[in-house]
């Protein structure tokens, strides 16, 4: 009879243990998933930033060529007008 009570208690203890361990695993699962999805979101963002950066570089280059020759613009406006 003692065995029986002990086994019963064991079942109940283990229920608690499994409960906790399962939830810890769920937590870890969540963390892993969170990490991976966040990573892919970040990489999408990175891609967009890269594109923007290249665009910006281009624009800066164009502006710099334009400011280097201001005369060109003033003269065109007068003649075309």
């Amino acid at each position: 009879m003692n065995d029986r009570i002990a086994v019963q208690a064991d079942w109940e203890n283990r229920e608690f243990i499994s409960h906790i361990s399962l939830n810890i695993r769920r937590l870890f699962d969540f963390l892993i998933q969170f990490e991976s999805t966040t990573k892919s979101k970040l990489s999408s963002l990175n891609l967009k930033l890269d594109t923007l950066e290249r665009r910006l570089q281009l624009l800066e280059l164009q502006v710099s060529t334009a400011t280097a020759n201001p005369s060109l613009f003033t003269s065109t406006t007068t003649t075309s007008a």
């Binding site: 399962l22 939830n23 969170f34």
Partner: protein, 1296 residues
């Protein structure tokens, strides 16, 4: 606890975890892969708590398990052993004196390795003796201790398997005896040295070191015997076992157990199945080799059952690239075990049974892939649906208990089915591999690239050339099924695990509380022993939580309600490994009655008193228990079942081929990737990343199971290489696909419709979208952003392609501009199609970059420069105009100006249109335009250069005109000087012949032939440029009109009756501005509008657009502009070419004006063209007329020219002559041979008239002529025209 755990975990689900990446890879992350159930985490330390007197058994069990663990490590040492001798350096002659040092060094290195081998030798001896002792202890007939338990039996089998594998490996590895013999050689050398050194030392020491050397010798001898004897381990085991003659019992029990498990095949996953298959032949040999009792085995197990098993699996995988064959083992061992070979017909029977074809059908996956596919599809659907049910259940509070149980039971069934499927599939791959290793491809395949067939490695024969394309396809498919089902199951691990626990709990409780209770009341009522065992089972595992009111005593005392059974609350807790272990043991005890020698099988029931139905229940629960363990170790089981890492390992073949590593073409994973890429199979494409999981698995194995750093390094190196190759190949395929798609879309549909074989231009659709979304490819623990890699390469390849097209254009002439435009258009379309799926740089940006005109102030571009230089160096000198067809064609004469061009660059088909077929289709279109320059080319030029570079080109051409005029001036002066003082009107007297004579006498330019030709060419170039401008004007008009039609409705413009542009509303806003304004007003007035500023911006931009478009509306005529410019350029030479007559009246005879020069040139040119057999026209064409007439017209000499031109005069004379002679009905010119010349003159006159009329229309000079008479009555020649060259400064300079 402040926050309940479940609430906290549930709160996590509020985070958004959606991910656009498709699941096209296997599960890469394993949170927990430790085994809690199949291996007891506490080494069955809790068995004693159940008081089953199993402590002896548990002790033995743990000992065996430790041995198994060690044995596996030994096996991995042996498997990964690589020969050291091969790496030994050879001493050059000059260093022979230090040979001894080399020996010493070699000895030290080899000694390390040999000590490992010695350790293996020692270990196997101890393991064999321990195993034998264990068997002996547990097989005494008068057993005093409980056991062996089922788990114990398994451990024995596993240890036996490890020993067999070790033995097999030792036999197969040739490098080990090699290394050993080298070791022995160095050892003798070194020990001689030692003696030399030691003799100088004290005697005591000397003695000791002698001893040491002797002992070393003995150990080495033993090792040599161990290494050189085949099956040394088994022989040793045999000796150990039969030292005391009573292990037959336990061997028979093991055989029966193995045979029954194999025959039932329910609870076995493939690793266990393979263990049993490997061990069984050895067990049979051992059991039948003893002195007595050899026949008793066949009494318990019919020999046919054994033969069946051996026949069904003639080839068993042992190591990744080593297989075992039971028949071969039996045959080989029969030499060593005389009694076995004498007794058994087994060997010959098996050898007879082998038929190659049946096995081929059985082993090759290709014959099963249809079934597998169906299984996969069916399973994934059902698995997903039961998963959905489970999720639904979790979201509902207080669901019906029965339904709850059903859903969870369903889930449990699906998991069991999934495991069995995975196990079957993975086993298929293992077995196919083993089969392929045992059957290398026979026919030597002539390898196209590297040498002859005999240089093939063995490994190439068994792997590289041993898988047909179909087989590779099937393998890729199967690998992706395994990996995808694996990751599907792995992902829902924590989701389903409590349902699984609950179901298992319910099953166990149902068995112990209901089934056993029933049995206790009926079958076992009278049997004291057995009913004690049954109640033990109840005690150790029953969970009476819900039934406290019903203690066991009640149950036993009154018969109770057996009909409905007990109800118990679900509890999501699984039984422990020990509980399962004990339950299995107890069931076994009940069934066997504690007697292992019972004839028949475990549940064979012959002679037992238990009724069949009870036996069935016990049996099914017994095997279920075995499977529970796998399910409890959910993630570890999934990992084992989906582990395909073995496909990479090839240690055995590496050794036999004597190379360091095979090229990647021999590597199965890469072969699969390559196959997917090469086959261009749209269905397989999304599985292309699956084979990389094989690398992940094998790297994991190298690190965790084999524990060899160098293997991991090799795998890593291969993966790096393969992945680079993969990305470049994939990008190539992607680019080719989009290019061909674009090219086939741009083919003329009516052309395709008319074609009979139009389908060859149709591009098979492929889907790359899943791959384009891969931002995390899991590779050896790294995350690789495949998308960015691909887009990087795409950005580069588009640039390369444009570069190539420009290079190609630069190596061709101007006529290729149509082709260039077409190819660029295809590229642009391909870019458009691709950028829908993948974000890459915009096409205009790439094009501008490659055109080298990113700068805002640069108006030239690579293309414009090229067109200009092409015109200057090739087009203007070498092309002739045909006025009728409006085309320029290349003069058939030898080019006057030799043109140096780079050779046409070569490129792959995908730099043109994609595929060969599409290339030829588009090329045949391009060829239509390759022979001339006309309107279509001008359209291409306009479209390619655009409004940005076109003005630059125009400016360059105009400058060219003005330069030409300047160079013409001195030459003309030269011609003027050579004219006679006065040339009168041609006399009518002698007819045409007389006229021509007079002309020749007067135009005495004989010494100036060279100069004449030069002037003509100069005039021709001016004419060509002007005509070119005319073409440009036509094209620009059309483009502008189109543009106007598109923008006019938005700008509120409409064309008036007289070509004027009228505004619909004066002073008011144009429709586009109105539209945006009112829309903005409407939106902003809406209170729900979140952000009105953007709409204001839009409205402002509409106004800006309105302004810009209106400003561009009145584009002038390029031709008129060019004529005005030419006129201005001519003004400088006005006084030279058009001298004002001194008399103030028309100067007839002495005039040396330009018209006179041109007149002379023209008649000479016409004469040449009819006299010379090869047509002179082909050098100059119609543009001379254009150039000459334009200059004459702009100088205001048109009337003079028409009056005094020599050929016109000749024509007049001819007309008169003809009029005179027509009365006498004969044609004088035929006789005199003037007919052709007169025709040419008429033609020239027509052409000149055409040019003059065009000029009058486009560049009227009336106002100038009107003021050409002074008030005094004297004519005023050529008033100063307002146009100066400086007025054209608005066009960009050539240098800009």
């Amino acid at each position: 606890m402040a926050v309940p755990v479940e609430e906290a975990i549930a709160a996590l689900s509020t985070f958004s975890l959606e991910d656009e990446q498709a699941e096209v890879q296997g599960a890469g992350v394993l949170v927990s892969s430790e085994r809690g159930a199949t291996n007891s985490p506490i080494e069955y330390g809790d068995v004693s708590a159940y008081r089953l007197s199993l402590s002896e058994d548990t002790k033995a069990l743990n000992q065996l398990n430790a041995l198994i663990q060690e044995g596996k490590e030994m096996a991995s040492v042996l498997y990964t052993y690589r020969s050291c001798v091969k790496a030994l350096p050879q001493l050059p002659e000059s260093m022979k004196h230090s040979q001894a040092d080399l020996y010493l060094e070699t000895y030290q290195v080899l000694d390390m390795e040999m000590s490992r081998l010695r350790e293996i030798q020692r270990w196997q001896a101890s393991a064999a003796s321990k195993l034998a002792a264990d068997m002996q202890r547990f097989s005494r007939p008068e057993r005093r201790i409980n056991g062996p338990t089922i788990t114990h039996l398994w451990s024995m089998l596993k240890l036996l398997d490890v020993l067999v594998q070790l033995d097999h490996l030792k036999n197969a590895k040739a490098s080990i005896p090699n290394d050993f013999s080298w070791y022995k050689r160095t050892f003798t050398q070194v020990s001689v040295q030692w003696q030399d050194i030691d003799s100088m030392r004290e005697e005591l020491d000397d003695l000791q070191s002698d001893d040491m050397v002797n002992i070393n010798c003995i150990v080495t001898q033993l090792l040599q015997i161990f290494l050189s004897t085949r099956w040394a381990i088994l022989l040793n085991l045999h000796v150990e076992m039969f030292r005391v003659n009573n292990v037959e019992d336990i061997l028979q029990v093991l055989i029966v157990f193995a045979v029954e498990s194999l025959e039932l095949d329910f609870a076995l996953l493939f690793p266990e199945r393979h263990i049993l298959l490997r061990v069984l032949p050895v067990l049979v040999v051992l059991a039948t080799s003893s002195e007595k009792d050899s026949e008793s085995l066949y009494k318990r197990v019919k020999i046919n059952r054994l033969i069946n098993i051996f026949k069904n699996d003639p080839v068993i995988p042992a190591f990744p690239d080593l297989h075992l064959s039971p028949a071969a083992i039996l045959k080989e061992l029969s030499i060593y075990f005389q009694r076995f070979s004498a007794q058994t017909p087994l060997v010959c029977v098996i050898f007879k049974a082998l038929t190659y074809r049946t096995y081929q059908r059985h082993y090759l996956i290709i014959n099963h892939i249809g079934t597998i596919r169906a299984e996969h599809d069916d399973f994934t659907i059902r698995f997903a649906s039961s998963l959905n049910q489970l999720l639904l259940l979790k979201s509902i509070d207080g669901a019906d208990v029965d339904w709850c149980k059903e859903v969870k039971g369903n889930m449990y069934d699906m998991v069991v089915e999934g495991f069995q499927l995975l196990s079957r599939w993975t086993a298929r791959i293992w077995e196919q591999c083993a089969w392929k290793f045992s059957r290398p491809c026979k026919e030597a395949i002539p390898s196209e690239s590297n040498g002859s067939a005999e240089s093939l490695f063995d490994y190439e024969k068994v792997v590289r050339y041993n898988y047909s394309a179909e087989e590779r396809k099937a393998l890729v498919e199967l690998v992706s099924y395994i990996k995808s089902v694996g990751s599907l199951m792995h992902r829902c691990d924590t989701l389903v695990v409590d349902a699984l626990w609950e179901t298992i709990h319910a099953e166990v409780q149902d068995f112990v509380q209901n089934t056993l209770a029933t049995m206790l009341r009926t079958t076992f009522r009278k049997k004291k022993d057995q009913s004690r065992i049954l109640s033990d089972m109840r005690t150790l595992s029953a969970d009476w939580m819900a039934n406290t009111s019903k203690p066991e005593s009640d149950l036993q005392s009154h018969g109770g309600d057996e009909s409905k059974g007990n109800f118990f609350y679900p509890r999501p807790v699984a039984p422990t490994a020990t509980q399962v272990h004990c339950l299995q043991f107890l069931i076994y005890e009940v069934v066997s009655g504690g007697n292992h020698r019972k004839p028949g099988g475990l549940f064979g029931n012959s002679g037992s008193e238990i009724p069949v139905s009870d036996l069935k229940q016990l049996e099914s629960f017994f095997y279920k228990l075995g499977f529970f363990l796998h399910i409890l170790d959910y993630s570890a089981t999934v990992a084992t079942l989906t582990d395909l890492g073995f496909l990479w390992f090839r240690e055995f073949y590496l050794e036999s081929s004597r190379v360091i590593q095979f090229p990647i073409e021999c590597s199965l994973p890469w072969m699969l990737v390559d196959h997917v890429l090469e086959s261009q199979n749209a269905g397989l494409l999304e599985s292309v990343l699956m084979p990389f999981d094989i690398y992940n698995d094998s790297a994991q194995q190298a690190l965790a199971a084999l524990r060899q750093r160098f293997l991991y390094d090799e795998i890593e190196a291969e993966v790096d290489h393969c992945f680079d190759l993969f990305v470049s190949k994939l990008s190539e395929i992607i680019f080719t696909f989009y290019k061909s798609w674009a090219a086939s879309e741009l083919l003329d549909p009516s052309f395709l419709f008319a074609l009979d074989n139009g389908e060859k231009y149709y591009v098979q659709p492929m889907r790359f979208t899943a791959l384009f979304k891969m931002t995390r490819v899991k590779l050896l623990g790294r995350n690789i952003d495949l998308r960015s890699l691909i887009s990087e390469r795409m950005n580069k390849v588009f640039r390369d392609n444009i570069e190539f097209l420009f290079d190609r254009f630069e190596s061709q002439d101007l006529c290729a501009v149509v082709e260039l435009e077409k190819l660029l258009e295809i590229l642009k379309h391909a870019h458009g199609l691709l950028s829908k799926d993948l974000s890459i740089d915009s096409f205009s940006l790439i094009l501008n970059e490659m055109q080298e005109n990113l700068s805002l102030v640069s108006f030239s571009s690579r293309l414009a420069t090229q067109i200009w230089s092409e015109m200057q160096s090739d087009f203007l000198p070498n092309f002739v105009l045909c006025n009728t067809t409006q085309r320029f064609v290349r003069s058939s004469r030898v080019p006057l100006v030799p043109v140096q061009k780079p050779s046409v660059p070569h490129a792959k088909a995908n730099f043109y249109c994609g595929t060969q077929e599409l290339n030829s289709a588009h090329q045949s279109f391009a060829r239509l335009h390759s022979g001339f320059f006309g309107i279509p080319h001008m359209f291409s030029v306009v479209r390619l250069l655009g409004s940005r570079s076109l003005p630059w080109l125009i400016r360059a051409l105009l400058d060219h005109i003005s330069n030409k005029v300047t160079t013409l001036e001195p030459m003309t002066t030269g011609l003027q000087a050579a004219l006679p003082k006065s040339i009168g009107l041609l006399p009518f007297d002698d007819g045409v012949t007389g006229c021509m004579r007079v002309v020749k006498e007067n135009l005495n330019w004989g010494t100036k032939l060279e100069l004449k030709a030069k002037v003509l060419r100069g005039i021709k170039e001016i004419g060509s440029v002007l005509y070119w401008m005319g073409l440009l004007d036509i094209v620009l008009r059309e483009v502008d009109t189109m543009h106007f039609m598109q923008t006019a409705p938005w700008l509120g413009l409409f064309p008036g009756a007289d070509g004027q542009i009228l505004h619909t509303q004066d002073g008011g806003d144009s429709p586009v501005v109105n539209l945006f304004k009112s829309a903005t007003a409407a939106i902003v007035s809406n209170p729900g509008c979140p952000n009105p500023t953007s709409f204001y911006t839009m409205s402002k931009q509409a106004e800006a657009a309105d302004l810009l478009y209106k400003a561009n509306m009145n584009a002038g005529s390029v031709l008129e502009y060019a004529l005005a410019f030419t006129s201005a350029a001519l003004d400088k030479y006005c006084n030279k070419w058009s001298a004002a007559p001194k008399t103030g009246f028309i100067d007839i005879t002495t005039s040396k004006d330009f018209y006179r020069i041109y007149s002379g040139l023209q008649i000479g040119h016409l004469e040449d063209s009819v006299q010379v057999s090869s047509n002179n026209f082909e050098i100059l064409g119609d543009s001379v007329a254009w150039g000459g007439c334009t200059i004459i017209y702009l100088l205001g000499q048109q009337m003079h020219f028409e009056l005094f031109d020599f050929s016109y005069q000749v024509l007049n004379v001819a007309e008169v002559e003809a009029g005179l002679l027509s009365q006498s009905h004969k044609n004088p010119h035929v006789a005199q041979g003037w007919e052709t010349l007169l025709e040419a003159m008429k033609k020239a006159r027509r052409l000149n008239n055409h040019v003059f009329s065009m000029l009058k229309a486009r560049c009227p000079l009336e106002d100038k002529i009107a003021c050409a008479i002074k008030q005094s009555g004297a004519p005023l020649h050529r008033i100063k025209f307002e146009n100066t060259v400086s007025a054209f400064e608005t066009l960009p300079q050539k240098g800009a």
